[in-house]
């Protein structure tokens, strides 16, 4: 349940404009960084999509860190988690890349890309969460 939420079936009673602004700003920067990298390092259907792969793995690790380290009261939290990391990483692009690999007959590449993305994404979240907990404890 979101802290601003009221009853289960109604919209949040109070919309926090600063929170929305933080999500918008973080989202704009994350999208620009991802789109810029994708333009700078374009990948064909038979290539490993390095730009998408790197933003997704880095974004998952950063989200694990900030989700654990940033206090709920801070506007840096929606700015960097929901805004920046959410927009820096992308699910839809991965699905379309997989379809293009399958079309190009690169089934092995598609399976490997998917498996490595999920494994590295989960490992990144796990490692960053643990590191943030250790940093908090010291």
């Amino acid at each position: 349940m979101h802290p601003n939420g009221s009853a289960a079936n109604s919209l949040p009673a109070v919309i926090d404009r600063r929170e929305l602004g933080a999500i918008f700003l973080g989202g704009a920067v994350g999208a620009l960084l991802r789109a810029g990298l994708a333009e700078a390092f374009p990948a064909g259907a038979a290539d490993w999509p390095w730009a998408t792969f790197l933003v997704n793995i880095a974004g998952a690790a950063l989200l694990g860190w900030w989700f654990t380290a940033l206090p709920h009261s801070s506007y840096r939290r929606p700015l960097l988690t929901t805004g920046f990391c959410g927009a820096l990483t992308t699910f839809s692009t991965v699905q379309v890349e997989l379809l293009e690999m399958i079309d190009a007959g690169r089934i092995g590449l598609a399976c490997l890309y998917l498996a490595v993305s999920v494994a590295a994404g989960l490992a990144g979240v796990h490692a960053a969460t643990a590191a943030a907990r250790r940093a908090e404890a010291t």
């Binding site: 349940m1 989202g27 994350g30 959410g86 839809s92 699905q95 379809l99 990144g124």
Partner: protein, 121 residues
């Protein structure tokens, strides 16, 4: 690539992030107590939309604005991974696996369906 296009990518990316936040709030935890259906709803609808865009002949600046900008920022890989890891940490390994498998299987189906529809245009 003009500066205006990049400003547009930023604005549409911010709007995509806000749309994700809004839909996640609307769907979150309402239909299933364990599966993070808010993120799933965002990612599947976004995979459908990006598949649709890929199926059409739209390219160049429009593809960058709406594909990389709006839809790319709307969907999220990092939250999908974070939620999966947290479910697993809570001892619900089967639900964590289901969250990954459902995301992949339904995501590919949604993108393929969108692309087929986009190609009809």
């Amino acid at each position: 690539m003009s500066l205006a296009v990049w400003v547009g990518v930023g604005i549409l990316g911010g709007c995509g992030a806000l749309a994700r936040f809004g839909l996640t709030l609307l769907v979150a935890d309402r239909l299933h107590p364990h599966l993070p259906l808010g993120t799933l709803a965002v990612n599947l609808s976004g995979a459908f939309l990006l598949g649709f865009l890929a199926g059409t002949s739209v390219d160049g600046d429009a593809r960058l604005l709406f594909g990389a900008g709006a839809i790319g920022a709307y969907t999220t890989f990092s939250t999908w991974m974070l939620e999966t890891q947290r479910i697993d940490k809570a001892g619900k390994r089967r639900i964590a696996v289901a969250n990954v498998v459902l995301g992949i299987a339904l995501g590919l189906a949604a993108a393929a369906l969108g692309r087929t529809l986009g190609q009809q245009l």
